[in-house]
Point group: C2
Chain length 275, copies 2
């Protein structure tokens, strides 16, 4: 069976490979799509990254990541906007499908989550003309509510889609099963995202029971409690047929194994779920 | 200033005191409301607990807890219903304001959260006649989405209120700031809970940054990022003026300090927030 529907987010193999080695490993396993992180591209070099990606015919299902808009003062917010414009340019150079936005949490010392949410809306509005000019779609990734304080105050798919409605064209969502699987309104919001042509990316992994760490204890598909087949059926019914991108942060498990074992397991579990 | 608006959930001092000692400590600090857990009552004895509570004129802002309805088979679900009826009887014997329901997560091996949610609705419907006969209000406590798999598949205030609408009289919500503070729909749903006369209890603590453990790293009021004054204002605007119940699970901090220090700090922070 083809692996055209599988992409590897390079956070999944961040402890194993630099960008060039990761591309090689993916090609070796028959995978032709990745999503690299900015620090990985910076370390490997932007021009060299673009060359390796093009040379190997790799699709970039996303580029991780822009965002982090809220800041304690106007100077900090302006710096975030500048940095996001650079991320857009990098994503365009690399030929990514979209720039993934992890929007940011509360500024230090703040208890005003509504204000942080306004800063996010203002920040995206400020970079949107640049993104449209670069023809780079922005994919807002709602993050699990346990990250509301320190990573992202956009915490449900419905909230992200409301933000898209407010912002207009060129903005959509990255739907990661890990962040939204619990949402009682999930089915309705995925259908809405489809109707509004807002699904730009789709990330997979699994929710482990127990989960031992808030950030770095994500599970491999099949090892947790998320109904991945049912989730994928909703995504496809909503009109998104793009690759499923595996994004796993796992300090105590997958990041300790070999890169080959991690990628081989991604392939195996992907095929199992697609059977 | 009066401490009439303060209650101590006895999980907060579970490592320090048995039920009798906890009541003594609260009385010593001028606090006249508590919320004991079933295991604490069982250990101290139901009859003796009721005696100590009445003798000291303590109000019970809740009794923790019923729930845990989903199970892998009909026998398990029937056992949960029986156990919840016993919890209702205990709450009535103790004179509690309500029985708090932590509804339960996925049965072992299940990936079907919709089915778990139906089991919760069916379970509460099954115990509701018993609760109404005992004049014991049932307070559904929506839990943070990070507990959806293993503790409670009711994860937003809106979802809990939808369930109340379906079930009718005798059911309401316990609103714990820790579980719902992040919700973009919070203000609207608190107002709705007030209009529908569904606010039966209100729990407080704080969300720490960073949070080091999914279950037992709750913060003391003021040590985290929740806008507690703003939250309380919404609760009061919705018509609830009952006590704020402090519920803190804290393996590495508060559970290691002395019970007197913990309660004194609860009082101090409560007064600070009420000033």
């Amino acid at each position: 069976m083809s692996l055209d529907g599988l992409s590897i987010n390079l956070a999944t193999v961040r402890t194993h490979y630099n960008l060039g080695q990761a591309v090689e490993a993916c090609v070796r396993h028959g995978i032709r799509a990745i999503d690299p992180w900015r620090d990985q591209v910076a370390t490997f070099g932007l021009v060299e990254s673009a060359r390796v990606i093009k040379h190997n015919g790799m699709r970039l299902t996303g580029y991780c990541r822009g965002g982090m808009f809220p800041a304690a003062d106007a100077k900090g917010r302006a710096a975030a906007i500048d940095d996001n414009k650079r991320a857009i340019d990098e994503a365009a150079t690399l030929g990514a499908d979209c720039l993934v936005l992890v929007c940011g949490g509360l500024p230090p010392g703040s208890r005003d989550i509504s204000a942080a949410r306004r800063m996010v809306a203002d920040g995206i509005a400020a970079i949107l003309p640049h993104a449209r000019a670069a023809k780079m779609p922005l994919a807002i990734e709602p993050l699990h509510p346990m990250y509301a304080a320190d990573r992202n105050c956009i915490n449900t798919l419905g909230q992200a889609l409301d933000l898209c409605d407010e912002l207009g064209d060129g903005v959509g969502v990255a739907i990661d099963v890990y962040h939204v699987w619990w949402d009682p309104d999930l089915a309705a919001q995925i259908a809405r995202a489809g109707r509004e042509k807002r699904i730009f990316a789709h990330h997979i992994c699994d929710w482990l029971v127990p989960t031992r760490d808030l950030l770095n204890d994500r599970g491999m598909m099949g090892d947790g409690v998320i109904d991945l087949k049912g989730f994928r059926a909703m995504i496809e019914a909503a009109g998104f047929h793009g690759p499923q991108e595996v994004e796993i942060f796992s300090t105590e498990n997958w990041w300790k194994r070999s890169g080959d074992e991690v990628i081989a397991t991604c392939v195996e579990r992907y095929l199992l779920a697609s059977a």
